[in-house]
Amino acid sequence: MKLLSHLLWGAIAITAGVCLGGIALIRGEHINSIWLVLAAACTYITGYRFYGRFVAARVMALDDRRATPAERLRNGHDFEPTNKWILLGHHFAAIAGPGPLVGPVLAAQFGYLPGTLWIVIGAVLGGAVQDFVILFASMRRDGKSLGKMAREEIGKVGGFIALVTVLIIMVILLAVVGLVVVNALKGSPWGTFTIGATMPVALFMGLYLRYWRPGKVLECSAIGFVLVLASIFGGKMVAESASLAPVFTLSAIALALGIIVYGFLASALPVWMLLAPRDYLSTFVKLGVVFMLAIGILFVRPELQLPAFTRFVDGTGPIFAGKIFPFCFITIACGAVSGFHSLISSGTTPKMIAKEWHAVPVGYGSMLMESFVAIMAMIAACVLQPGVYFAVNSPAGVVGATPAAAAATISNWGFPVTAATMAQLARDVGESTLFFRTGGAPSLALGMAHIFARTGGGAVIGFWYHFAIMFEALFILTIIDAGTRVGRFMLQDLLSHVAPPLGRMTWMPGVILTSGMVVAAWGYFLIQGVRDPLGGINSLWPLFGISNQLLATIALSVATTILLKMHGARYAWITFTPLAWLVTVTFTAGWQKIFSPLPAIGFLAQADKLAAAGAASAATQTLIFNARLDAGVCGVLMALVAIVLVDSARVWVGILRGTADTHICEAPFVPSRLQAEEL
């Protein structure tokens, strides 16, 4: 039996190696997406079985005899022992946002190989380790947040900086995901109507749940889903109507303003009315679509059309400028390593773990699942013809303002595409044009529509395209309204020290003022992105990636401190290695984004170029200011995280020299009395 087990694990590990080797070495022919699926799946299984369990057994010494906070502090609300598979689904739904879908699509400009390797290896050795160790640490500390753990394990500075970093990330995140939606919907009456219709649907669901059928969330979500599907068909009719189509054909600025107003209203209105029903619906749609995409890829097994490497590894990419190192590794954050996950791993989840060993599938396993979502997004992007992929994702400022000019530029790069091909494709999916749809969402929707349509007949590609756009926009808008509300709470908390009434959650002037301030902050960056001649994604997505990875460095610093206190230097490499990599990547990327002499990369060089061009119109002055503002934000983030790193290093040296306090702030051991049948 043991021999059989060894043979089985050996076979899985060899399959992982062969498939990874295959996708890395095969050149000059299209490879099938199943290679990527097998390489990823077998690497995850091997990593989970050996590395995840090694960390669990040897480093964390997980012990099922020890009562978890869910058992000791059980209150029927936050603290509740939960079946591990249910908790895994809950945790996965909480960590999976638009990041693992959009990042890989953008990074595909380098070809399929760099992003794929980073997603797979980064998740197994970095992202999953971060999520798992933070979950473990929080679970042993009664479910404390990352900020509290940073304060206790490193010092007060770390905790405060974690809070400020989260607030800045929120602002950049909301702006960048807003921009993704704007670029997906601009000039698209079908998409705009469909997404617009989700708002009355959410209001209806809110009333249904509150007054007509209280508590029937699944039933209500099923009705909401049917209504949203109907709105996709309604959108087609609107797009074909001569009188209605112009009403729903909106410019990027109009859409951005609409999203800003929506964010403000959703933040200030009672949550049951709009935010909560929409969130329920988007969670179910998200999980369903991810599952459908996995089935679709396995069923269709499409060939990848993008090469392993494109010419843009030299840093001249049209989607975002910069070389593979460091930009591939910050473009794909969620899906490989995402600092934001540490907030979830130290939020609800540790309060629901029934047995310590459940942290392995929940913490480590969920991240591997999210990484697999990123692999599917990479496949969806790479099944498009390269010319089509670049035509959709390149901004007019780089490839030329007309379809003919853009097609000529992209064809000259070695990726043939014609304006006629793009026009036909746009007609197939019910759009007026697919050129200059930067942001990743439209090309992901196109790739998904190709896969779905091949399972259900090519004639329905228009439906699937808009279904995919609806799916992406639905949960991005949920992030915008929930994020604005969270940002408002953080701001109210901070401002309450200056003006106590502002801290009261029920004082309407305070609510309106702080909601307005948060919306103004991310709205400013959103408008900046819309007006950016390079498409906005070029500047905002790297900023988001850098800030997210910087949060991961804070989480991994906390994790390293805890491991040093537990075992000395023996196992610190487990979190220190991904930490060192992320510090190298993010600080290099941050430095280049600020100081690179190339205007396409460096914010300051961009500002200098605009200033040197003369003709200082108000619009140019705004662009110059924005470039300098972006440089400032990037610099502030790097400085904040550098302070945490220096503070952490001071503590580490003290621990290793024996001069610092090595007291571990864990809750005391209490034997578990939880019975298996209770789960």
């Binding site: 609300h77 508590g215 179910f284 934001f340």
Partner: protein, 58 residues
Amino acid sequence: MTPLRRFARVILAILRELADENAYRRHLSAHGRTHSGAEWRRFSEERLRAKYARAKCC
């Protein structure tokens, strides 16, 4: 129970957890109360207030 049925039950349980329906049941049983519109609204307000005070992941 067949593996397929067991799988379906786990999926349904995950959906109920995501829908807060399990949490509502726990709330009723912890406080010894019965379901009513007013009780759901009380539970829902408290639950959603806590839920949307936390950052959503990207």
